[in-house]
Symmetry: C2
């Protein structure tokens, strides 16, 4: 979430600005402060990717939950910064693995500095995160984040292994989504509760909310790869297609495709042989087969389940914003 | 250190086998156990690199120090396994960054599985390490390891930035060596003392011992790249030269070279233009200019300083083995 140009902001982001704007600013300061290193390239690359914005959804969750329970200390911003660091580290490694050129409308770190440095700077961000958490000193938070990191990297490996494999099931796809994306959303929300020493049941509801919200966002993200324009997506449309990633629209369109359509998908995604106009054809097929609608419906269901988790939490403006965030997951076009 | 073929072992490794053989076996079991993941590729790749052996110097340090102070629990092997995990993660990422083909006489993970998966499996090993440390529950050990990881990744970035730059000073080179290699040696030795709740002065001596030992090993390693044979080195001789790494023999030979020799170094290392027989010429030059001897002398000095740190520790067989390890650093030809 960038504080600039508030007039264009969707209502939920405006609301977040009102509720936790100063907290987000504290978080941003901590991020820049903690990126500090004698090794120049580290703050440079860190700032390149972190300042490019993004919606800061994960730190927002930590801050909202902390505020929901009336947290009045300063450590919420510290933990929110850690969550963004972990996210940034995974982005750096992701983009190296995917050889992506753009992210959030800007050149990726690997396209500016080559693929070597982002691997190492990502490692630095991981390490720095654990240094901050150790200084914070709460073993429970450390456990949540360490567990999340392990699950995320497993999810990334699972995704890599499933690349170019049209036999990937919807279940397997959702497992990858849960691990590589939703787990950090869950951790971000949960540590907000831990910071407030809330009972286990509330911690669990918040982790579940984060998990379902993360699933909704990732499923929509994957659908947008076949529907958005480059400008709204902030990355190249069709990236997943070119990279052979087997996402929900593809799984659905392949399952319901004619023999000729299945051959098309197989040629592109498994044999990596893209005939002229392949992306346009793919976009057309996922529309015609109702695969985009199917994916958006699944996302909508996850968002609905996410909202249901909020029922037992205090009825505060923060809870309302969390419900808005769930709706926003499938309303957004970026 | 492989338990096999003990007859060929150098005396120090034989001695280590006698002193901490069972501890090393417990460590190996924990490593294999903790490598477990539902995601098949993870234990596969982990085992590929960990089972290929190596001297296990870092876990050996943790085990020796724990035993030096009479540690009788089981957590020494747990921490030793973590140290080896961290080391393995950095190797996986290193080999991706360097595009290395062989390591410890075997194909590197990236040459078997491509460069993508090792990035992610390295991340898994980092995360798993912190999970284990969190379960162990000692914030001091967590701090030592998190600090080490941050310093190591900074060192790797520093090394990357200095690649192909003959203006790199000896001081800068040694700073990189200290960060990327020696820091984990220091951490490995120090946590053995922490496990025994030893006073800060002993912890410090052991950390200094590890740091100096690590410097000696890395300086020798870099010298061997210009002198060993492929079989003894376990990796390709001349790798550093081909990759444009500015190590001590090169820094010395360049500084003391004739104008024509300096042109040769610059052509190869800065312009990456290797005339026929370049590696042979480089090997000849570092010999003729006394640069190998110079590097080995520096290593010997570090090893001597390392031994001096042991003076105030209990006079036990473990301390003696630690002194032998220091001598071994510059006596070995691999």
């Amino acid at each position: 979430m960038k504080p600039s140009s508030p007039s264009n902001l969707p209502p939920v982001l405006k609301r977040l600005g009102e509720l936790i704007g100063p907290d987000l600013e504290r978080t941003n300061s901590i991020i820049l402060e903690q990126l500090n290193s004698q090794v120049e390239l580290i703050p440079k690359m860190g700032a390149h990717i972190i300042e490019s914005g993004g919606k800061r959804l994960r730190p927002v969750l930590t801050l909202l939950v902390a505020r929901l329970f009336g947290y009045a200390g300063q450590d919420d911003a510290l933990l929110a910064a850690v969550v963004e660091f972990i996210h940034t580290a995974t982005l750096l490694h992701d983009d190296v693995v995917d050889k992506s050129d753009t992210r959030r409308g800007r050149a990726t770190a690997n396209s500016v500095w080559g693929s070597k440095a982002p691997v190492l700077v990502g490692d630095y961000l991981f390490s720095r995160s654990f240094q901050i958490l150790v200084a914070h000193g709460d073993l429970k938070v450390l456990q949540i984040i360490a567990d999340a990191c392990a699950v995320i990297s497993e999810g990334e490996v699972m995704q890599l292994v499933a690349t170019n494999d049209l036999a990937t099931s919807e279940e397997h796809y959702l497992e990858v989504v849960q691990r590589k994306t939703a787990t950090l959303f869950a951790a971000a929300a949960q540590i907000g509760a831990v910071l407030n020493h809330r009972p286990a049941s509330e911690e669990e509801s918040l982790a579940r909310y984060g998990l379902l919200l993360g699933k909704a966002y990732q499923v929509v993200d994957d659908a947008l790869d076949y529907s958005a324009t480059n400008e709204v997506l902030g990355k190249s449309v069709g990236d997943d297609f070119q990279e052979g990633k087997i996402t929900l629209p593809v799984i659905h369109a392949y399952r319901h495709g004619s023999p000729e359509e299945r051959q098309f998908w197989s040629r592109c995604l498994e044999r990596k042989d893209f005939p002229e106009g392949a992306l346009q054809r793919a976009i057309q097929l996922v529309r015609e087969r109702g695969s985009l609608d199917y994916a958006m419906d699944r996302a909508k269901a996850f968002a609905g389940e996410a909202k249901a988790q909020l029922a037992r939490l205090p009825d505060t403006p923060e809870r309302e914003a969390m419900a808005m965030l769930a709706d926003f997951s499938f309303e957004r076009s970026y």
